[in-house]
Symmetry: C2
Subunit: 341 residues, 2 copies
């Protein structure tokens, strides 16, 4: 994608407003003597602390999806800003808790929040961001209508519940020898796809489109999320090291039960034997990833990603998007699914 | 309080409906293959698992306060049920996370959730209950109006944020040598009083009383919460062992900076010297509590509790409560502040 893409133009135009929207909800809530809590929240958002800046802020794909959907559905992106702030806050809430739950030390090239402030404060800061996210989405009453704000809040918390259901399964899978494809898709639908589906749906909702059109946006987000996760699974085994030298290909060492691994285990061939025989060291990774590829696992995962992308784009087609924002959504789908890290 | 009190009559009548209200929101959300998550939620609520039952369910004071306020303000308790379900869910959410943050092994006579299922699942289950609590409060749209549901949701999440601000300070105080009275009250206002204030206010809101009357209910809850905490602080040092033999008087050993301790430290006498000289063992507790009492700490805390109780009752007076529910609220205030454990 070149720098003059519809997506980049839109992202450059709207990013400052997304940040303002988040700042607004943090400020309007007051700090009640809790400057320390605010410091942790802004660290997590990448605004403060060592190495604060664009890298630490992350790509902010989710709020951009909200705003793009609002425009593509014939609305105005500014009216959807409270929802965009909400999804960025809830995404960061889930990152804080996931990092504790998964014992991940780093996040976006910096120490994870819990490594700096301890687990207790980090759990609590995540909870504060959950409350802030709800306050943000409820602010839709200022930019749209009471009815839309209510409906969006119900959708939002149903989505948050789906996130925890997905995370529950993901943690649970660590203890299992065998995970079925069905259970895998159930997990991904909650952990990854639910929030993307919400982003698209709430954008369309803010534009006051029909429930049917909203459901096409939701479907686009859902399949985009599933495809995105399969792509992530592929990169976790066959990806390249990123520019700061951090390996993205640690999934085999961590024994994550991703879709290529489930396929490999189902073959009951060499990969299955090797996986079942014990721990996997960094030295084994290359050989094992080649074994998986030879047994058809990479091809299978790529076919799945393509199938899901086609479903996503078919839903987007039905949504009858308008103008540049519609093009930007298609571009973004393309960008997410053809990334190399 | 005898068994024919207004409070007990009301509690016996409404408790089954509170449980139904919570069950409803859990069921309507679906489990998406997450029976295990539902199992943890119902364990936390005291409904399932070893020793499930009334003891494990807890006193459910908060949902009862919501319903009593609704009745006392001239409304119908059934219309406030979604808010009652929400406060019981959010109270349990905060207990799950607090137990992890404080490393507490037991809760209501049973192993804390994280001791049975591990930290990762427990953090995530708390998050699920946060989402469920929001879905519950939003259900007010079915029993009241869209406007009340929206207003209650905003109040609810502002309250949740206050809870996390109080918890932030509480954790932070562990690292400090000196805590001021002002900071203490700020912490208690968030950690204990905010949710009680919400319970009373949302009950009155559901009855569609004026904003002024709602604010009197809120004030009653706020001061009740502060007084309740001071009483808790007193019991944490001079309380009795409860019937199952568990000591409630461990606050000195844990070096909690409660109001009697802050008073004692401010005297800069014997208690201060002893506290500053190092760890406090179970054998030291009796002597230290006697020292504190001799230096005026117990009398000070009791005076504070009385002062706050008077403020609570003055607010309740202004709220012009109606009927039996008003009497029950006064009874409950009396019961909470004159308990021995």
């Amino acid at each position: 994608m070149n720098d003059n893409s519809s997506f980049k133009t839109f992202a450059d135009k709207t990013r400052p407003s997304i940040k303002e929207g988040i700042q607004r909800v943090i400020t309007q809530s007051g700090d009640h003597g809790c400057g320390g809590l605010k410091e942790m929240i802004t660290y997590q958002l990448g605004w403060t602390g060592e190495n604060a800046g664009p890298e630490a802020e992350g790509k902010q794909i989710r709020p951009l999806l909200v705003l793009l959907a609002a425009e593509a559905a014939g609305g105005e992106w500014r009216r959807a800003l409270p929802a965009a702030a909400a999804v960025e806050l809830i995404h960061n809430f889930s990152l804080i808790h996931d990092d504790i739950e998964d014992r991940s030390d780093t996040r976006r090239g910096r120490p994870a929040l819990w490594k700096l402030w301890g687990e207790a404060q980090a759990i609590n800061t995540g909870d504060a961001m959950f409350a802030l996210a709800n306050l943000a989405v409820l602010n839709l009453e200022d930019t749209t209508t009471n009815e839309i704000s209510l409906q969006a809040s119900i959708l939002f918390n149903s989505t948050c519940l789906r996130l925890t259901q997905g995370q529950h399964l993901d943690i649970h899978f660590e203890d299992l020898d065998h995970v079925s494809y069905d259970d895998y898709w159930l997990m991904v639908a909650g952990k990854t796809a639910a929030l993307l589906a919400f982003c698209l749906e709430v954008g369309a909702l803010s534009a006051e489109t029909s429930p049917e059109i909203q459901s096409f946006y939701r479907d686009f987000g859902h399949y985009l999320g599933l495809a995105f996760q399969v792509q992530d699974d592929i990169l976790g085994i066959w990806g390249k090291k990123d520019k700061i030298g951090k390996s993205n290909i640690g999934d085999l060492i961590e024994r994550k039960k991703t879709i290529p691994v489930l396929f490999g285990l189902n073959q009951k061939k060499e990969f299955y034997k090797r996986w079942s025989s014990g721990p996997i060291s960094p030295e084994d990774v290359l050989e094992l990833s080649q074994l998986l590829e030879a047994e058809g696992s990479l091809a299978y995962a790529q076919t799945e990603a393509e199938r899901l992308t086609i479903q996503a784009l078919a839903a987007l087609e039905k949504a009858q998007t308008q103008g540049e924002a519609g093009s930007a959504l298609r571009e973004l789908a393309d960008k997410l699914l053809n990334r190399s890290k």
